[in-house]
Symmetry: C2
Subunit: 261 residues, 2 copies
């Protein structure tokens, strides 16, 4: 596994250099996907192509699930699967030139083995898995405290909060505050490092794969909003948190469903 | 003015060292002010005491308006006034150990002269004023593009967004997205650097002083939510943006008031 870890770290650092070069050149093309706020750039595609090429060289048998270029569906999770998000937080990438991540999750026979989230502009790499633990750059991460909902910050997407979907406003109110960063990777880093107690959002598999693997390695809770395992098939409502915060939020979700039924 | 600029930069760097030492010592005391989410720590007070001492040594005649220790009201703005926030984003400081700022604004005869916002953990200093322009660390800042509402990210506080106060939800919807960072300094840095097109929130003078001075130097719009000058007397609804985004948001505020009257 150490060989694969070193390989993936090298890919990510090279991909990040590619991103920084493209920012410096300042000639990327920007297209929309589903609606004017759903952007994809030539850089997303370049980075994905680069990562796919590295994966194919390293393990030609491996399957790939990735955000761009029609690689966004995978039904067979046997063998080794790489789940990649070349640029998570594309809107931030375009408008802020920071606050975006490169993410890679590795699954073997359907089980999460390794997750990598790289905050490119801060040169901040989180990586690890159940067998090896979780690391910040080369330092062993301390398992975060089991913060209750009232003692931490909740990351949330704006739509759920606005609509009070699943009692999202009550979750936020009971916490210390709500944060919206526009980047799943940053929210997951926050949770992994103990700077958040929970995160709920509508996410695709490449948004949650790497983070889920590390969160599970740390004993955190990860599921869809109803407490079921994530499906890795299209967008779904993702919920993760410390054991205590997660439990309180799941109770609020169930309460909202009773009220609405 | 150059002497004062150098002095203030030195104070800020020393204050930041003090903050980092306190983070490393990890024995700060935390109290609440108005409610359980309104925190103040021993570090906020230490940093303010340090800055007040430096100001008193530098200019014993100067007045000080600051967040802590009963210095939060000032009625006489004649002469030189320093407006300071020792730690802006105290909740982030406590829970994240990052994403907080030290801010200083300097006024002379009621006019904004110099603003300083320092993102402590990223070692990122924005400073400047109408006469000298605005700088990032030692580099001259490029005046940001006049982004329209639909082409940028809006920073907003959660309460306004949740309640759709002054059509806040419509502002967010018409933009590229809403961001909540829990730190006025970070939102103002975003706006000053062209990574945001607008920011609306309930702020106190020490939250908006430094940023307003730099925004005005860059030709951005700054006012209370009704378009009136800021009062520097307690908390008020602050609104700032690029000229285009500000105009669109002011129109939405006026529309909301017509609807509610």
């Amino acid at each position: 596994m150490q060989i694969m870890i070193n390989e993936i770290k090298n890919w990510i650092k090279e991909a990040a250099d590619l991103v920084k070069e493209e920012i410096a050149k300042n000639d990327m093309t920007i297209d929309t996907k589903e609606g004017r706020k759903d952007l994809v750039t030539s850089v997303d595609k370049k980075v994905q192509d680069f990562l796919v090429e590295q994966i194919n060289n390293f393990d030609p048998e491996a399957k790939i699930l990735a955000e761009e270029d029609g690689r966004d569906r995978l039904t067979d999770f046997s063998g080794r699967v790489f789940v990649i998000d070349p640029i998570d937080g594309t809107l931030n990438f375009v408008l802020e030139k920071e606050n975006f991540c490169i993410m890679i999750g590795v699954y073997e026979e359907g089980k999460g083995k390794l997750g990598f989230i790289y905050n490119v502009m801060q040169d901040h790499l989180l990586w690890g898995g159940r067998e090896i633990g979780v690391f910040i750059n080369e330092e062993n991460l301390t398992v975060p405290k089991d913060l209750s909902l009232k003692d931490g910050l909740v990351g949330m997407n704006s739509s759920m909060y606005r609509k009070n979907a699943y009692n999202a406003q009550i979750m936020a109110e009971r916490s210390m505050g709500v944060r919206m960063s526009g980047c799943a990777g940053l929210e997951l880093i926050g949770l992994i490092e103990g700077e958040r107690n929970a995160y709920v959002s509508s996410l695709a598999p490449w948004d949650y794969a790497a983070g889920s693997i590390m969160l599970e390695a740390l004993g955190m809770e990860v599921s869809d909003i109803n407490g079921n395992p994530l499906k890795f098939a299209g967008r779904e409502l993702f919920m993760a948190g410390t054991p205590s915060a997660y439990k309180e939020m799941r109770a609020l979700v169930e309460q909202s469903e009773t009220e609405n039924s």
